[in-house]
């Protein structure tokens, strides 16, 4: 990429983020949706959790931007290290989702073990303790370094910038563009939580964990066998 004025790069990063946001949503949505549904009701709580998630995601972006800038890697689908990283991150995401699916940490969350008899969809709401920040931070960071297509496009652009600061700024602005698309998830906070609702979200998280685990493991195995 040719060296461009900073303002041009900033606009480009923002437009790229906004334009590719739906793909980011498709990439991170399967993680964010069940995780958010497991959270206790309340828009404020959801906003806080989403902020933590996005902050951790930004850290993931910046770490990766710095790494590729130093390494000078022109990212592409054929980049040989991509499969290892992508597969590894997917397996870690699967582990993260499984932890949520299993209802950990129980000590802080009274809704972790739904009672067997409460299975009516639309039943009474349940109270839940404040969730920990760890989950939001871990999942946010892992989705931040998950090599989704828009991330790769931004990676190529950032790798060609003349200074590390510019590369980081490019990724930060790109991140801001994509983050807009995550705001609707906060509105899930108004949905009433019942024991059944949370059980469904946990089961969905477990299924998605299986899918991430399967695709991640497939990538790693394929890479190990075929190189």
């Amino acid at each position: 990429m040719a060296v461009l004025p900073l303002s041009t790069s900033a606009v480009e990063a923002l437009v790229l983020g906004l334009a590719t946001g739906p793909v980011c949503l498709a990439s991170c949505g399967p993680v964010v949706l069940p995780w958010m549904l497991v959270q206790p009701r309340g828009v404020r709580g959801h906003a806080r959790q989403m902020s933590l998630f996005l902050a951790a995601r930004l850290v993931g972006y910046l770490v990766f931007a710095a790494a590729i800038w130093f390494a000078g890697i022109a990212l592409s689908r054929s980049w040989s290290g991509r499969s290892w990283l992508f597969g590894g991150v997917q397996v870690l995401l699967a582990a993260g989702l499984l932890i949520y699916a299993a209802g950990w940490p129980r000590a802080r969350c009274s809704i972790a073990r739904p009672r067997q008899e409460l299975v009516q969809i639309g039943g009474a709401s349940v109270d839940a303790a404040r969730p920990r920040a760890t989950g939001a931070l871990v999942l946010g960071f892992l989705t931040g370094i998950n090599l989704c297509p828009p991330f790769l496009v931004a990676g190529v652009q950032a790798a060609g910038l003349p200074s590390l600061a510019q590369a980081l700024l490019f990724f930060a602005i790109f991140f801001a563009g994509t983050a807009v698309w995550f705001m609707p998830f906060v509105s899930l906070g108004v949905v009433r939580r019942t024991s059944s609702f949370i059980t469904v979200a946990r089961m969905a998280a477990a299924l998605l964990a299986c899918w991430y685990g399967f695709t991640g493991a497939s990538l790693l195995i394929e890479k190990a066998i075929y190189g």
Binding site: V23, A26, S27, S76, R77, S78, C148, P149, V153, V156
Partner: protein, 170 residues
């Protein structure tokens, strides 16, 4: 009074439901189907091949080049360009064509295949890339996928040529 109104409304609703049931095969099914058909929806380009970009007539048959199809969201496929040769009945037994896929006037791939007499059989042939943007392949031998195939379908020979993604994603 309120209970009576509710009861009357309930029976009216039940009568409407029955009327709807009677209308299903004569009116409703067709109306809903037309509504779906005219909703401006389209089948995903990974199945249909996308929009037509150019068509060249060679005597009795036509070679149609489609616009490139890119994966959407996290779709698990490589980008490709579809080419169709139709109708199969008018094709010579052996087809050999150099085709311009990107509209720059230069041939990008050379497609060659033999048309089998059985409409359910696959043609045997190959695609040779003349432009580094495209990936060549041979059939049979290469694994068929939505991004890379050479088949007979709907009275045409359909060829899909994968796009290489050197350097960047798109």
């Amino acid at each position: 009074m309120r209970a009576q109104v509710k009861t009357v409304l309930a029976y009216v609703g039940a009568a409407v439901t029955l009327a709807i049931a009677v209308c299903v095969p004569f009116v409703l099914m067709g109306t809903f189907s037309k509504a779906v058909a005219h909703a401006g929806l389209h089948v995903d380009a990974s199945y249909t091949g996308g929009a037509i970009a150019a068509a060249v007539t060679h005597g009795a048959y036509q070679t149609v080049v489609y616009q490139p199809v890119w994966p959407r969201a996290l779709q698990q496929m490589d980008p490709f360009v579809q080419i169709t040769f139709r109708p199969v009945a008018a094709l010579p037994r052996r087809v050999l064509e150099a085709i311009d896929l990107d509209g720059d006037g230069q041939p990008d791939v050379r497609v060659s295949f033999t048309v089998p007499p059985d409409p359910r059989s696959r043609p045997s042939g190959e695609v040779v890339a003349l432009n580094a943007k495209y990936a060549g392949f041979g059939m049979p031998g290469s694994r068929s996928s939505f991004s890379q195939l050479m088949v007979q379908s709907n009275g045409a020979v359909v060829v899909r040529v994968p796009l290489k993604e050197a350097g960047t994603l798109r």
